[in-house]
């Protein structure tokens, strides 16, 4: 063999060797590529898991999973279908990869009957339903148009085995398939989908669990808040009750005192009243007696003058005696605890009549008064067992106070467009009933508010008010009826008195103070 031939053979051998190496390299590269693909699939799945952990929102979870099917598993389209409890079909929960508006509106309305034959294998425990491009089975091919995929795979998700509540569908249209991950009988893509399904299912369970916990927490919080509200309400009521107790005790002792005094004064006052009236008559009689007496003109003139003065004085004594008498009688009211008959009366009627009475009374007593009267009666106000005369006294007093305040404001600041008004309202509070008397007078300054329930406290000019109205009203409402009397006022705007009465008489209360 010549040197050249030897070299040629050697060359051939080497070149064959290189060819063999090249093909091995290609195969190696393929294996490597395959491994890389698997690695990245797992990495992405792992990353998806991390993303799942940052959310408990079901929609977000499903959207992330659908994106994964499109962008990592590379299928063209993805659907998540949900069977609502009690429903007999699966409906679309999330869809991705449908970019034709007309088509996606149709698909979005899909209702896949749970009884669809295509799903039957899932109920039998099969892991997935596959429809490949060459599939001829009509139950599977008929689904193609409904879901807009010519090749697809359906996987169950959640619920019990053989009774899934959710379906994951991934696949492609025939046109896009060459550019996508193909749906095939087996292999990595299906493995990836199965992994995704189980991850998603776990994430959904976690989300649901979290949701349930969250609701529990919220309802607990709500309960705590409710309790706190109740507590603070009770505390307030307690404080108010304490205040009332102190007030009542104060008034009770004062009431006893005044009643004692009144009693002592009543007899002398009777004498004063009787004798002064008698004396006035006697002055007239004296005049008669003196008529025939021979007196010169001057003297007669003088005696007549004196008699007239005397009579005038006596009349004043009579008048003021009567006033004193009325004060004393009012004072005695304080001790006249729970007298009279308790009756069941209709609240709206009672308030309505008091309002009329007060209005006519005010008109008779003073000059014509101009005030707008309103009634805001709750038809459900109903009846209450009470002392009608006493409550009428309370209402008369509150209403006349209101009239006074409104008229006073009118007289004082003579505002353009100011119209005195008074509203009487009722409201059903279940086992209690509320009566409100509201006027748009000047309101009550706080220093007055502190003292207005005290007996004899009045801001009216001397001789006009006794200052006993509210004090009496308090006694009647609180002591005799175990009710509440409250005031709400805003200086320059309004005053509203609220009387709250229990519907039935407190047991044993009526006799308690006699």
């Amino acid at each position: 063999m010549s040197e050249i031939d030897r070299l040629r053979v050697e060359n051939q051998r080497l070149s064959d060797e290189v060819k063999r190496l090249v093909t091995t390299e290609v195969q190696l590269y393929e294996v490597q590529e395959h491994l890389d693909g698997q690695m990245s699939a797992y990495r992405h799945l792992y990353e998806l898991g991390k993303k799942f952990n940052t959310t408990v929102d079901l929609t977000t979870i499903l959207q992330l999973a659908a994106k994964f099917v499109l962008y990592e598993l590379n299928f063209e389209r993805c659907l998540f279908l949900l069977k609502q409890s009690g429903a007999n079909s699966f409906s679309i929960e999330t869809m991705d990869g449908y970019y034709n508006d007309a088509e996606s509106t149709v698909i979005a309305r899909l209702a896949l009957p749970t009884a669809s034959l295509a799903l039957a294998p899932l109920y039998a425990g099969v892991e997935r339903v596959l429809c490949l491009p060459d599939c001829r089975r009509s139950e599977l091919t008929s689904l193609r148009r409904l879901i807009g995929m010519d090749e697809y795979v359906v996987l169950p998700l959640g619920g019990e085995p053989k009774n899934p509540i959710r379906l994951l569908v991934a696949g492609n249209t025939a046109g896009q398939a060459p550019y996508q991950r193909r749906v095939v009988q087996e292999g990595e893509a299906l493995l990836g989908l199965a992994n995704l399904a189980s991850q998603t299912s776990t994430a959904i369970n976690n989300a649901n669990f979290y949701q349930a916990l969250e609701w529990e927490r919220q309802s607990l919080e709500e309960k705590v808040r409710e309790r706190t509200r109740e507590l603070s309400r009770s505390l307030e009521e307690l404080r108010a009750a304490q205040d009332r107790l102190i007030q009542t005790e104060k008034l009770a002792s004062l009431g006893q005192l005044t009643a004692g005094i009144a009693h002592e004064i009543k007899n002398p006052l009777n004498f004063i009243n009787n004798f002064s009236a008698l004396s006035a008559e006697l002055v007239d009689e004296l005049g008669e007696v003196l008529k025939p007496a021979p007196l010169n003109d001057l003297m007669r003139q003088e005696t007549d003058e004196i008699a007239k003065l005397l009579k005038g004085n006596l009349e004043k004594v009579v008048q003021h005696g009567k006033r004193a008498d009325s004060i004393v009688r009012n004072m005695l009211m304080h001790s006249r605890d729970g007298s009279g008959d308790r009756r069941t009366v209709d609240i709206n009627t009672l308030v309505g009549e008091s309002l009329k009475l007060a209005y006519h009374g005010a008109r008779a007593e003073k000059r014509v008064i101009q005030i707008r009267l309103e009634q805001d009666f709750d038809p459900a106000a109903g009846e209450a067992e009470l002392l009608p005369q006493e409550i009428t006294r309370v209402l008369l007093n509150l209403i006349s106070n209101g009239f006074y305040a409104a008229m006073k404001r009118k007289a004082e600041d003579d505002l353009e467009g100011y119209e005195p008004a008074l509203t009487a309202a009722t409201r059903n509070l279940g086992d209690r009933v509320e009566i409100r008397i509201r006027d748009n007078g000047a309101g009550i300054p706080s220093e007055v508010r502190e003292k207005m329930f005290n007996p004899f406290f009045t801001t009216k000019p001397p001789g006009e008010g006794t200052g006993l109205g509210l004090s009496l009203s308090f006694d009647i409402v609180v002591k005799q009826h175990a009710g509440l009397i409250e005031v709400d006022t805003q200086p320059g705007k309004f005053t509203e008195f609220r009387v709250i009465l229990p519907r039935s008489a407190p047991a044993g209360k009526a006799e308690a103070h006699t």
């Binding site: 093909t23 590269y29 490597q32 990869g97």
Partner: protein
Amino acid sequence: MGTNAGVGMSHHRNPKVAGREAAERALAAAGIDRPDFVFMFASVGYEQRALLDAVRVATGGAPLAGGSGGGVIAGLEADESNFSVAVMTISSDELNFKNAMASGLKANSEAAGRTIAQSLACEVQPDTLGLIMLGDGLTLNFDRFAAGLKSELQLDRHLPLFGGTSADNMEFKQTYQYCDDQITSDGVACVLLSGSARLAWSVNHGCLPIGGERKVTRCSGNVIYEIDGMPVLDVLKEYLVGDEIDNWSKAVLSLCMAFKAPEQIKGYDDYLIRFMPTKDDKAGSITIPTEVEEGTSIWMSRRDHEKISAGVERIGEEIKSTLGNNAPKMVFQFDCIGRGKAVFRDQQKSQILEKLQQKIGPTVPWIGLYTYGEIGPIGGRDYFHNYTAVVLAVY
């Protein structure tokens, strides 16, 4: 004002969103509202019409040219999925872009060249720099196209041709070319670039011959029937395992033909590389994108990692030495589909790209396409390449 260019990419699966996103990102990167010209490179998973419409709307209907590829490059991101679109938006008062489109490459690439020349002839100015072209990678016969173009233009100077051939996802079924609102296949989209700027470019492949020299013994035009007197398909089987030859798109990724480089470009490389986009089992033939004569020497070749990486470095150095201290206004990269994920793992691929951009200009608007063939002049003449990277910087 000069030139403001920017690139944007989107992977959104909805073509309407993807087109808008990529365009809006490009405009934002350029800092402009209304571009004068738009390049669009896209992969073929998208419904092309919806995608192009979205880009057109987002760029205010500015003139546009582009093509589909096996992947796209925008900045440091090279994506070879079926769903990526890269857009470059340009606003300039020193550069001028004129686009034109022709089709029917398969029937007559030369006629298509003439059609393009007729459309652009009146736009050729003394400051015209070159022509960027994107032709269908399945049907372009480059030699004929270039001949038609040049014969019609009748220029007394060399008009350099750059670009690549559009590709699909290695299915070799259909590729797309874009020009304004038009989308075509079997066509070519061209952009005539003029203005007060200069071009710097470099061309490099990364293939090594396996074994000895062989000879084409029967051929016609760009179709080869026999090598060393044996049916060409049998010859190929020597280099492929088992039934690999039946998976053609895979086979041609690893196997290609090297031709002796012409004397005038000896400094470039010993070989020019050709790939074999189609085979015909019935006729027992394969096709390459350029003409071949009987008796031509060929070497069966394969890609080589080291040669590719070293070659890319050389591209960077060559361009940098031309640029000197000038910063490029924009860069176009036409890279072979067989040089991307087919040989490199993601990380290696982005390392190579980053190194190249560091060298040429890390902040330069950079757009690229993974093609079935690359076009770039060597030594004053236009050549068609395969398994090659052509990088063009405008500065």
